[in-house]
């Protein structure tokens, strides 16, 4: 409970609950009352976005950390597969950019690496990409 400036006490509604209330209103009250197609679609879209945000509020920090760890593990292990030179772009380069560059380098150097080494490295990269996707899906999975 918190006290507002004029001394009335009120219960603070958690952000997720507040969002759920707004969503319910958009879906059940506001959107059905709109007859023009464009504004009606906008109202439904607002509800869908807020549903996803409600999930993101609880899960975003966990997801970001899991993704960072997954990428770190990948770059640590790739050296053992003999493609260490491709993992050198570090420092200020963002994780996603580093990983995208690695993917492009692997395909560009496929002939030089040989099919067996390419396949092994590509398999390991895809494993990390799958981890990243699963993390994103945890938030994005819709109840629509």
């Amino acid at each position: 409970m918190r006290e507002n400036v004029i001394g009335l006490r009120f219960r603070v509604i958690p952000a997720r609950r507040m969002l759920e209330e707004v969503i319910a209103s958009l879906r059940g009250v506001i959107a059905p009352a709109i007859s023009a197609p464009y504004p009606k679609t906008q109202a439904y879209m607002a509800a869908v976005i807020l549903e996803t945000l409600a999930r993101a509020i609880e899960e975003r920090s966990d997801v970001a950390e899991a993704k960072r760890r997954s990428i770190e593990r990948l770059f640590a292990e790739l050296g053992a597969l003999g493609v260490g030179a491709m993992t050198e772009a570090r420092g200020s380069v963002a994780d996603d950019e580093r990983l995208a560059k690695l993917v492009e380098s692997l395909y560009a150097d496929r002939e030089r690496l040989g099919e067996a080494r390419f396949a092994a490295a590509n398999r390991r990269v895809r494993q990390t990409l799958r981890d990243l996707l699963d993390a994103d899906l945890k938030i994005a999975a819709s109840k629509e």
């Binding site: 879209m45 963002a94 996603d96 995208a100 690695l102 993917v103 395909y107 990409l129 938030i139 994005a140």
Partner: protein, 343 residues
């Protein structure tokens, strides 16, 4: 610009284009919710001409300057395509005018005929029901296949459609498509997307050879078709057409992307019927392996659509919440593509 101001400007513009008419009035003016690249307005116009009353329906598409396809979409090209199609049996609306001057409505625009019929939304519950009932009656599925076969049987050179660009032999068509969408992704996002990078690299490494070139719509599905009395009255969304592999359109029809929760292709046509009827009408044999490849290309394309859309919203260039929503749709389509290529 407010809808009422747009309506006034359109009436003034029509009056300029129809100088001999009197008492020009617009009715049933509505901005449709559909269309991600352009603002679309549908209206009826009535006027007096040579002492008699005339009434005609119009559809106006305006480039808002923040279209989903950015510079890949050109209203002028759409106008040229629709004009070229007028001399062919393709089911397309007649194009009346193209106006490049952005000063009139705030962006270039195209005015074409309003075609009688409906465009049921295939992703809505009501739309799914409309298509399922039409599928059971049988007329619309046949019309759906016939309209596509008509496009693929067109003599596109004779129609003057080679201005769209003609791919070279072999893998050139697929590579051109990949390059087009990769360019849009790069223009739309400040941050590289590693899963998309893997999908693009796989597509480049596995591009198929086109067995034949045809006039390809590029987004042939229900939702882009006007339906009237159980038949396709017109094909819409002339933004992605190319001269290319006809299997590109066939793959889109076969794709799971366009038949969520139903075995019916594009929510309306039985797979076996589509395959047999398409092959009969075009004398082409469907190459399912190539179609599976193009299906992945479509998943990549859809991912790039979402990246472009959410980018426009993030950049503050659009306030359309449908674009904001696509941020959360991206992982699902990347997931589909990743599974299709093995991870």
């Amino acid at each position: 610009m407010a809808a009422s101001a747009i309506e006034d400007r359109i009436r003034e513009d029509l009056q300029r284009r129809l100088p001999g008419v009197r008492d020009l009035a617009l009715e049933n003016f509505v901005q449709t919710a559909g269309g991600w690249s352009h603002e679309t307005y549908i209206f009826d116009a009535s006027w007096k001409e040579d002492g008699r009353g005339v009434r005609r329906g119009f559809c106006l598409r305006k480039d808002p300057g923040v279209g989903l396809l950015r510079e890949l979409s050109s209203l002028e090209e759409q106008f040229r395509v629709l004009k070229a199609l007028e001399s062919t049996p393709a089911l397309a609306p007649k194009a009346y005018w193209y106006e490049p001057d952005a000063a009139i409505l705030g962006g270039p625009f195209l005015i074409m005929e309003k075609i009688e019929g409906d465009v049921p939304n295939p992703w809505s519950k009501a739309g799914k029901q409309v298509y399922a009932e039409a599928a059971a009656r049988g007329t619309l599925p046949r019309s759906f296949v016939e309209a596509l076969a008509t496009l693929h049987n067109l003599d596109w050179r004779a129609a003057g459609l080679d201005f769209l660009g003609v791919p070279g032999p072999g893998r050139d068509f697929a590579r051109r498509e990949i390059a087009k969408w990769e360019r849009l992704a790069r223009e739309s996002s400040a941050e590289p997307q590693p899963v998309l990078a893997e999908i693009l690299a796989w597509l480049k490494a596995n591009a198929p050879e086109a067995q034949r070139l045809a006039f390809v719509h590029g987004a042939y599905r229900t939702g882009n078709l006007i339906i009237h009395e159980d038949r396709v009255a017109a094909i819409l969304d002339w933004e992605l057409q190319v001269i290319g592999d006809p299997m590109y359109d066939v793959a889109y029809v076969l794709s799971d992307l366009n038949r969520e929760g139903t075995p019916l292709l594009s929510y309306v046509v039985d797979r076996g019927f589509f395959v047999a009827e398409y092959e009969r009408l075009t004398s082409l044999e469907i190459d399912f392996e190539v179609c599976r490849y193009y299906d992945v290309l479509y998943m990549m394309r859809t991912a790039v659509f979402w990246i472009s859309a959410s980018g426009l919203f993030a950049e503050g260039r659009s306030k359309d919440l449908r674009l904001a929503r696509t941020t959360y749709a991206l992982p699902s389509v990347l997931d589909m593509a990743a599974k299709a290529i093995g991870f």
